[in-house]
């Protein structure tokens, strides 16, 4: 059973997908259909908000990397609002903090 909830905020210029809970393999299975649906709209700015994520494993990493890869491919912008330190550590361990665009606050950024 997954311990994840997520919320979607789709506005004209951005889509924010915010997670809350443990982003593990079960969570990924649950989230992926929604992620696919949101990506269909080709949001100019896609924000993955991890601030409320309490745990992240390689499945979560994989999901975010795949989303990022698709965004690059489609020349969309994907930003990640980093989670708490332990969660962000997982990115740092794999040096993904250098590969993904992390922003502390996504509200001020645009699609350009």
């Amino acid at each position: 059973v997954s311990a994840i909830t997520f919320s979607v905020d789709e506005t004209a210029d951005r889509t924010v997908l915010a997670f809350s809970g443990e982003l593990d393999i079960a969570a990924v299975a649950e989230i992926e259909p929604e992620l696919t649906r949101l990506e269909l709209a080709r949001p100019g700015l896609f924000v993955l908000d991890l601030r409320a994520v309490t745990f992240l494993d390689s499945s979560g990493i994989r999901m975010i990397l795949a989303a990022d890869a698709r965004a690059r491919e489609q020349e969309r912008r994907l930003v990640v609002v980093p989670g708490p330190e332990p969660v962000h550590r997982v990115f740092e361990l794999a040096l993904l903090d250098r590969r993904l665009e992390f922003v502390q606050d996504s509200s001020g950024i645009g699609t350009s």
């Binding site: 393999i25 745990f55 494993d57 330190e85 040096l95």
Partner: protein, 972 residues
């Protein structure tokens, strides 16, 4: 009028007496006197000539003067004759008396004859005259009566009638005084209502109604009373007014209507003996006519009042009232009709009844004809039209209108606009229907229990809820209690008793037993109605069959429980036995599970029966008559063959016998007392794995709902069986695959002590993504690898295989660990689509001039930990980018010198995550653990870590765990 002899004489005498007057005497004397005087002078020779003259004179005298005048003339004539014939000049000497006597007699006879003739003539003339007068009087009286009648009929006022009658009587009787005394309304006193000839102020005075007054006497006698002379009559001291007016003759006649006495009319003459029998008759006639006129007048008044009241009623009626005739022509149309139907009276009266819709014209005609045949209608409901064309629902009452002779002249209709009522009724009916439908849909019925009388009323649908035929409920509380399941009776009785005591209610679920023995669940809601003193009077309630819901609840609970048991274990055989146990008695009296083995022949896996003795019997039956799927009659065999569920709602004895293979089998089957059965195959991925049989008796009959439940259960069970079988197959596969991905056994490295552990997350059904490897490289060096491929299963296994072999290959070619990882990165990018990555820590162990050391690189992997011989522990190396995603990963090499006793730990993130979700915390924990393990062998360190995992004990790890421990045993 017949006259007596005396009267005849009197009649003869009376006029003569009256007429011996001077002219009669002159006539008697002058005739004979003139003849006697003239005889000497004239030459009268013959006696006969003179005698004739005398005779003529006598006749003349008699004619003129009457009898006595004739007699006188005859006497004188005799004297004259004597003078002439006996001794004309010798004095009155009669010589010859004989001729004288003869002449005298002759003269007298002549007189008498003439007189008689004359008298007769006169009498006839008199009678004629009298008759004429009488006729005239009668005619005038008739005329007067007739004119009175006319006046009475032409609507004269009451006052006019009174004045007219007294005037009539006064004139008719030719009297100057007439009075009419009448009973004052509502009193026994008479009042002089009208009169003529009375002194002023007399009219209106009271008149005694006692017998001492003339009026009272007349009334008492109830006959006309004729008084000859009031002045000499002392019978009526009570009539002072009469006496005061000095009347003499009086006639008094009672005035009566058929039903009552109105009063008295009295005529008074100033002369005594004034009234004849005719007068009496006239008075009577006048009185009767007056009475009739008064009566009519009264009726007319009453009629007018009644008609006025009636009209007022009709006008004031809030309800339309109409009258129409046989042709449907309206004669009465009241304001309410105007209001309701819109047509005014002016528009409607005289025209055809306008409110009948065309399509109801026949009905209207029929009803009108019926009314004309004397029938009346009441509360007839139909539709009528308004002027604006809209329809009005009406209820009308019709009755015939009859005239004086009972002939029907019209139809009166009183019409009530019941549109609102109808609407309300419809609403009520609809709401009742809705309620009934709702109640029926909810299998809900109502009842009402009169606590005092014990009588219970209930809705029709309550009987079927109890399995009773229509009218099958006896209608008492005790009879109701009898329907309750014995185990629940007390519960219900207590609840009802409590509700009655507290004036409250209850809501509980209980079982009822139908006449066929089947058990059903009811929800009963009761509500006590109390009187002013708080005493229970009635109890109202709803009853509802909740068997389905209850069964569903039970079924769901059962399914949930069964599902939990089935999913919680891989020991499906035990689980199926438990499920068979669970199914009894909830779903069945007996549950059997047969499973097909590898050869697809069934064997009984589980049997459960509510009755342990019968459970043995079932086992015994299976032993003696094993299930044969090829037996055509057996529903169990059919279910196995076809994979379709079999439902035998009603299992008859004959059907049961048809399953039996011999008499004994039949007898044993019969002993089970089954009445229903269902057999549901256990089917997964299109394969029938077995069959579950549910069997029940005691009048129970499985429904399709039960079958659905059984199917759900069988689906879960089949899935469980299938999973368990798959699991055992897959875990076998996975284990062997995993083994193939890990080094079969760790190589012995000179001077290095090695231990490794691999622990798959979960039940090990899938190949994990973690791997490690340890191998010798070119030039006597050794490489140790630990990695974590994202994902699990076959895909992960493939990546793991690729990674392992790529690293092994690259390690021969490439010196630097970072280059090895770069090679892997490139290979993965080539090989796999986006999103497949791995993290790898690679270390090359080598001896150089500087001593033994390790060069390591991490591609996104947790850094290896180093425990120094001195007991220091820390992570070594630097972080690198994970592999397989980016073409330009940042990878660095770090050289770590190794001394004897140093311990290097390479691990996957599953290990630290196991300690804590925060990998930093997990890492600190692991470092602590290492420090505690200082001085221990590699195997001992690995064991210590394993132990800690057990101690941490947070259940199944969500990720695989792998780690490799290297201990430098000698640093040469």
């Amino acid at each position: 009028m017949k006259l007596g002899r005396r009267e005849k004489v009197a009649e003869w005498v009376a006029p003569a007496r009256a007429r011996l007057s001077v002219p009669a005497v002159v006539a008697a004397v002058s005739g004979p006197g003139v003849i006697t005087a003239l005889a000497p002078i004239t030459d009268l020779e013959g006696k006969q000539g003179v005698t004739a003259l005398y005779l003529a004179a006598i006749i003349a005298a008699t004619t003129i003067g009457g009898l006595w005048s004739g007699v006188l003339a005859a006497g004188l004539s005799l004297l004259g004759l004597d003078y002439f014939f006996v001794s004309p000049f010798h004095g009155f000497t009669v010589d010859n008396k004989e001729p004288l006597i003869t002449g005298g007699i002759a003269f007298l006879l002549a007189v008498l004859f003439v007189h008689r003739v004359q008298q007769r003539r006169e009498a006839a003339q008199l009678r004629a005259e009298q008759a004429e007068v009488e006729m005239g009087r009668r005619a005038s009286r008739q005329e007067a009566l007739a004119s009175f009648g006319r006046i009475a009929l032409t609507g004269a006022s009451a006052e006019e009638l009174y004045d007219e009658v007294v005037r009539l009587v006064g004139e008719g009787l030719r009297v100057g005084m007439v009075g009419l005394a009448e009973f004052a309304p509502g009193s026994d006193d008479l009042v002089l209502r009208a009169g003529v000839g009375w002194r002023e102020g007399t009219i209106g005075s009271r008149v005694s109604a006692e017998r001492d007054s003339l009026a009272g006497y007349t009334l008492a006698l109830n006959e006309p009373v004729v008084v000859q002379d009031l002045r000499q009559d002392d019978r009526f001291p009570g009539s002072p007014i009469l006496h005061a007016h000095g009347g003499a003759g009086a006639i008094s006649v009672p005035i009566r209507s058929p039903e009552r006495s109105i009063g008295v009319i009295t005529a008074i003459s100033s002369q005594a003996n004034a009234f004849s029998a005719d007068d009496v008759i006239f008075m009577r006639a006048a009185a009767n006519m007056f009475a009739a006129a008064v009566q009519r007048h009264r009726f007319a008044d009453e009629l007018r009042v009644a008609r006025d009241e009636f009209q007022a009623l009709i006008d004031a009626s809030p309800v339309p009232i109409v009258v129409y005739d046989r042709d449907g022509v309206v004669t009465v149309w009241n304001p309410a009709a105007e209001e309701v139907f819109g047509w005014t009276a002016e528009e409607v009266i005289g025209s055809f009844f306008p409110i009948v819709p065309d399509d109801l014209r026949e009905e209207f005609d029929r009803i009108r004809e019926d009314v004309y045949e004397g029938r009346a209608f009441s509360g007839y409901e139909t539709t009528r039209l308004r002027k604006d064309g809209s329809k009005v629902e009406v209820s009308f009452s019709n009755a015939p209108v009859r005239d004086a002779v009972g002939e029907i002249r019209g139809v009166v209709g009183i019409i009530t606009d019941v549109t609102d009522r109808k609407r309300a009724e419809r609403a009520i009916i609809e709401s009742e229907q809705r309620l009934r439908l709702a109640l029926e849909a909810a299998s809900m019925g109502w009842w009402e229990w009169d606590v005092g009388t014990g009588v219970v009323r209930w809705s029709d649908n309550l009987e079927p809820i109890h399995g009773l035929p229509h009218g099958g409920f006896k209608g008492t509380f005790d009879a109701f209690l009898e329907l309750i399941h014995p185990d629940d009776r007390q519960l219900l009785e207590d609840a009802v008793g409590r509700a009655l005591a507290e004036g409250s209610g209850y809501d509980l679920e209980f079982r009822v037993v139908w006449p066929d023995g089947s058990v059903h669940w009811m929800q009963g809601i009761g509500h006590v109605v109390v009187d002013e003193e708080g005493k229970p009077v009635r109890m109202l309630g709803l009853g509802r069959d909740v068997t389905d819901r209850k069964r569903r609840e039970e079924a769901l609970a059962f399914l949930a429980e069964a599902g939990e048991r089935l999913s919680g274990t891989l020991d499906y055989e035990r689980t199926l036995r438990e499920i068979a146990r669970l199914a009894v008695p909830r779903l069945a009296d007996c549950c059997v599970v047969d499973i097909l083995d590898e050869e697809r022949s069934p064997h009984q896996l589980a049997v459960a029966h509510v009755d342990p003795r019968l459970e043995e019997l079932v086992r015994d039956l299976e032993t003696r008559y094993p299930t044969d799927p090829n037996l055509p009659a057996s529903p169990m065999g059919r279910a196995l063959r076809s994979g379709q569920a079999e439902l035998v709602e009603r299992l008859s004895g004959a059907e049961l016998r048809s399953y039996a293979r011999d008499e004994e089998h039949a007898a044993l089957l019969g002993e089970l007392g089954l009445t229903t059965a269902m057999f549901v195959p256990l089917t997964a991925r299109g394969r029938t794995l077995g069959v579950v049989g549910f069997l029940a008796g005691k009048g129970r009959h499985y429904s399709p709902d039960d079958l659905a439940l059984a199917r759900d259960l069988a689906r879960n069970a089949a899935l469980s069986v299938d999973n368990a079988r798959l699991y055992s197959q897959r875990s076998r596969v996975a284990r062997s695959l995993q083994r193939s991905l890990l080094p079969p056994e760790l190589p012995a490295i000179p001077g290095i002590d090695v231990a490794a552990r691999y622990r798959a997350a979960g039940e090990g059904m899938e190949v994990g993504g973690d791997f490690y490897d340890l191998f010798e490289t070119d030039g006597g060096g050794w490489a140790v690898v630990i990695g974590d491929v994202c994902g699990k299963g076959a895909d992960a296994a493939a990546v793991t295989g690729l990674a392992r072999h790529t690293i092994r290959t690259a390690a021969f070619r490439e010196e630097r660990p970072s280059h090895v990882l770069q090679t892997l990165n490139d290979a993965m990018l080539r090989q796999y689509a986006q999103g497949t990555f791995c993290t790898v820590a690679f270390a090359r162990l080598a001896d150089t001039v500087r001593g033994r050391h390790a060069v390591l690189s991490s591609g996104g992997h947790p850094l290896p930990l180093l425990l120094t011989a001195g007991g220091e522990a820390h992570a070594v190396g630097s972080h690198g980018t994970l592999l397989g995603v980016f073409p330009d990963p940042e990878l660095e090499d770090t050289e770590v010198p190794l001394s004897e006793g140093d311990v290097l730990l390479l691990y996957t993130d599953g290990l630290v995550e196991y300690y804590d979700q925060d990998v930093d915390v997990g890492e600190r924990r692991l470092l602590e653990l290492l420090r505690e393990s200082a001085g221990k062998s590699a195997e001992a360190v690995a064991g210590r870590i394993e132990t800690s995992l057990r101690e941490t004990g947070n259940g199944n790890a969500r990720d695989d765990i792998a780690f490799v421990v290297l201990k430098v045993s000698r640093a040469d």
